[in-house]
Amino acid sequence: MIATIIKKLKVAVWTWRQPLTKIPNDLNLPISDLFVWRSSSKWQTYFELIDIPSLFEEVKRPNQVTIVFMNSVGKIVMKKNLFLEENIRQTINVSSMIGQGYGEIGTFAVFHSHIPTIIKKCNSFLAERGYVSYCYNQSPLRSYVHGNLDAVTLNPKGEIHFLGGNSFLPREYNLQYKLESDNNYEIGLVNPTSKKHYITIKLVSLFDNKILSSTKLVVAPGGASFNLVQSDKLGPKKLIIKSRLIMARPLVFCFKNSKLDVFHG
């Protein structure tokens, strides 16, 4: 009995009042992930836009989305409104929208204008976690990755509020993936909280558990930062991300013989 209580208390240190995602106080607010955009001569970013509200109920007037773009340090640089069409797919070229005047990476969020009645009735929030795709080096195929953080909300005044929780203690996120020596990687981290986060990325040998490298990053609220892992002869490795983010789940770009594979942890 006492052992069980001690176990529960040990876990509570990591969970009590430390939510992964805070709950907005208004059921009319939409939630979006913070997606990463990449825009350069080598990178194009796309997003699959679907009129999610009209999947739930008939549309009385066209729904729209507000896309908010931030640069790598989380500063809002652009907002766009787009009308949606019911039950069709709209693939939008995000890099064409943002252009190449705001750096090569940043984040964006997609907020739906209408929240279906059933969603509010169930005390839920419509969450745009949709699908981003990247085209690298004029590849004929795009590589997809879906959002997985319910990161931000937009209030009627057009203000962004970050929903990510913060950890009291530094915690480690261990990417359950083997980084191979022959490949190059770019590890992307996004900050969905309202505080600046200092993040340490460690590469650890899977052979002898030695720390091969340790890199520190700072990510502003709403911003994104990338860490490069270049090919070497040090054998397979694992990646450990230490921070006060509740779950520092990275976006991983893997380059094997210049071909891209992208996924999130």
Partner: protein, 279 residues
């Protein structure tokens, strides 16, 4: 001011059943799985263990399991079809798992063995596919048994277009029972609700369906439903020569919302669309 979601004492999920990690295989492409014996965080697992690597498949109405060895604490291993014993039957869904003790060699229900599962995030493996040119695509995932009364509703905005590009859907199902059963996957166009085709699918299988023959256009939103079986839809696009590959899976409709009664919303959405889409 935001309320704190999920406050209170959220417990790590001690002693819940472990997940499975399927080795995918379709067309000329080979699947692989990277299993990791290190937890995805440093705070949910007290005592790590060396773990047994199990391979499980359904054959002749039973689940058969074999041990492939032990994965020590802190290590990772990538397993492909080439690493497997020769006596595995062809055309079965191969499932890897990590457990503290070996799974029973035969069982009438999908083996469930105690495993210290994590929650933030869930314990995953890397599930990947490679073309004959060794071009890879992967995702972090796991596979748990679906209830046999489960259903599927998914919208798939992943088809890619261009010369030589091929698109397919893998409908991945796993159930407790090893007994084979068939069902029907209905394919529609969301815009006009037209039925495009009905395709037979099986349980405990990675069912591969070529999508290019259905004539979808870039702005079409395909809808896939199954009224008697649930599964994970995985979309695959590749160039004909296998020099490029893309892989992504969709989530259940409950993922369109967060907080609150998400599963009620999923029920609602399925009911809406199952009523709208008539065979």
């Amino acid at each position: 001011m935001n309320r704190l979601g999920g406050s209170g004492l959220l417990l790590a999920r001690f002693n819940l059943y472990m997940s499975y990690y399927p080795i995918l295989k379709f067309r000329k492409y080979n699947g692989w799985v990277t299993l990791c014996n290190f937890a995805p965080n440093n705070w949910e697992i007290d005592k790590p263990h060396d773990l047994v690597i199990n391979l499980t498949w359904a054959f002749d109405n039973v689940w058969v399991s074999k041990s492939l060895g032990v994965l020590p604490v802190g290590k990772a291993i990538t397993i492909t079809h080439n690493d497997l014993p020769d006596d595995i039957p062809g055309d079965v869904l191969l499932l890897l798992s990590l457990t503290v003790t070996p799974l029973p060699s035969h069982s009438k229900a999908l083996p469930k063995t105690e495993f210290i599962q994590t929650k933030i995030p869930v314990w995953r493996s890397t599930l990947g596919v490679s073309t004959p040119l060794n071009v890879c695509a992967s995702y972090q995932g796991e596979l748990d048994a679906f209830p046999s009364q489960g259903t599927l509703l998914t919208f798939g905005p992943f088809l890619q277009f261009g010369e030589g590009i091929q698109n397919g859907l893998i409908f991945l199902n796993l159930e407790d029972s090893p007994v084979n059963r068939e069902s029907k996957l209905e394919i529609y166009n969301a815009a006009n609700e037209n039925l495009i085709e009905i395709v037979s699918i099986s349980n405990n299988k990675a069912n591969y369906i070529e999508l290019d023959r259905f004539g979808f256009k870039p702005n079409d939103l395909p809808v896939f439903i199954c009224r008697e079986m649930a599964g994970i839809p995985i979309y695959v696009s590749s160039t004909a020569d296998g020099s490029y590959l893309s892989l992504e899976h969709t989530h259940p409709p409950a993922s369109l919302v967060v907080h609150g009664q998400r599963w009620e919303i999923q029920k609602y959405l399925k009911k809406q669309w199952f009523a709208k889409l008539i065979k």
